[in-house]
Symmetry: C3
Subunit: 226 residues, 3 copies
């Protein structure tokens, strides 16, 4: 049953919804990679690499760590084809994407919500312990974006003090999923409710500018050798 | 038979050629990592790490993704020893490398040509699907260089608009290899012809300054949170 | 017997010491990640990610490469919990860490010493060849720090000419461990002596400013396409 959520079986209508959201997440994350490549002045190769790694990087790291090899990104052709399609769209239409930033952010929030739930469930179904499974859910949701930013020589967006909550709702969704699993209340209803809550928290963060806590500035943390 | 190409069996004269080109690729890619370290002002540790990761990084990622663990870089001592030798040469002789840039580029093109064919074949022989195998061939060929550039805090060379075709010939070679495999025409002749074509395209790109397409500049792609 | 060293069995008093040093290493490496995040102006998410990856990244890469999946960082909850604790401490107390730089450096040296020995032994016990096992011991010891620096957009500390010996003592300790293993003299005494020697070399490097060799500056290493 949980495997339906990770895309290995698509039989019920609930799974069709999940599958659709999953693939929308792939498109949107892929487009975010291609758009950053445009902004950085990269060529089509840079756009493609960033699109594929943003869309699949978090899931690939999760799969390597839990031993799900080859990772889903290599066994499901859509995980590679959709970022290519997103890259083609961005290549020709990128000035137009400024006009659709709001819908893109909404789809991105949907992808985030689904990736953290799917990521945690897949880790649990491979026998990973609860605490690590929470971390892997977050990794699946935000790992691709961190890889994108590192390859583009940007400070990872999720680390920045001036960005709204992103990893935090992913953490909450991942933790709630693991909690439901541990208490044997996990199932399609719990998954859907969790994903919706994550989605809403992310949208509220964007709307109201919620930010994660930051330490007071200081001179600490100097490199050991300075 | 295809395994001869991935270095597991070396029996025929064709395989000896492949093995030689493979190891030349390791030396040249290793030297490119060590040279970048010199240019960035790194010490011997930085030179060694960049040399080893440039020479082996693409293949290691491919092997992890297809489940070929431990990766070839750990089972074949030459994959570690040759980058060390290349580092030693660069350490003492690096000013002299400016005078041999042209032969280095030719060997690099040979390494690129062989790595993409080997990479795709190894992925296919591990049961990876065609589209993913194309991607893994490209990964094996250009992944090490991307790791090198990221560790040295450079924009990955293959992403830059002002660099000549590099990932594109690797993609063509990888795709041709997969096509031959799918149509049961893959074998030493197909591999050699494919590698030669990739090699020639790369050299022509250098000669005539061929570049990959780039999107029109624009302001799109602003970070979601700006 | 060697497995005691890698934390799978903790039965003897020697193993309790190793286990303690191992977990102290996790705390100290985690704190170094969190402190760098503070210095770079990251939020709590950046602190947590850097803390976890600095503490576990080197070991995770080693485990993925040798096929020890899921890696120890996912099966032992302390590997995730202690970096979280270290992050919490740094979050509230980071100005105070400037006053304890010296003890932190001593603990860091202890972690380095233990990680390189443990890393090499674990690789050997998974059947990895000697030369590769040396590399994996070094990877386990310095890999987390390199990941930390790359994510924070810093030149990796171990690559810099102005930093004291760090990877070199890890290399010596890893090589000595592999040598002892190959000559069947490896055991708790050899492990302890090796770790102590690495620890002392690292402290002497800090005390006397020992540095790794660097190549003469030059203009070599220009990117192939310039």
């Amino acid at each position: 049953m949980p495997f339906a959520l990770v895309g290995i079986e698509v039989t019920s209508s609930g799974s069709v919804l999940e599958r659709s959201l999953d693939l929308i997440g792939v498109v949107v994350f892929g487009a975010s990679g291609a758009l950053l490549a445009v902004r950085k002045g990269f060529d089509i190769v840079g756009m493609l690499v960033l699109a594929v790694l943003t869309a699949t990087g978090g899931g690939v790291i999760r799969d390597l760590l839990i031993g799900a090899v080859p990772p889903a990104a290599l066994t499901d052709p859509w995980y590679l084809l959709l970022p290519v399609v997103a890259t083609a769209a961005v290549f020709f239409l990128h000035p137009w994407f400024d006009h659709i930033r709001r819908p893109v952010l909404v789809f991105d929030a949907a992808g985030l919500a689904l990736y953290c739930v799917i990521g945690a469930v897949k880790a649990l179904s491979f026998g990973i312990r609860p605490i690590a499974a929470i971390g892997l859910g977050v990794t699946a949701a935000v790992g691709g974006g961190i890889i994108r930013d590192v390859l583009a020589r940007e400070v990872p967006t999720v680390f920045r003090q001036d960005t709204t909550l992103y990893a935090v709702p992913a953490f909450l969704g991942s933790a709630a999923t693991v909690g439901a699993w541990q208490t044997h209340t996990y199932g399609p209803p719990a998954a859907v409710v969790t994903a919706i809550v994550v989605f809403v928290i992310r949208l509220l963060s964007l709307r109201y500018g919620w930010r994660a806590p930051s330490p007071r500035p200081g001179r600490a943390g100097r490199s050991a050798d300075e």
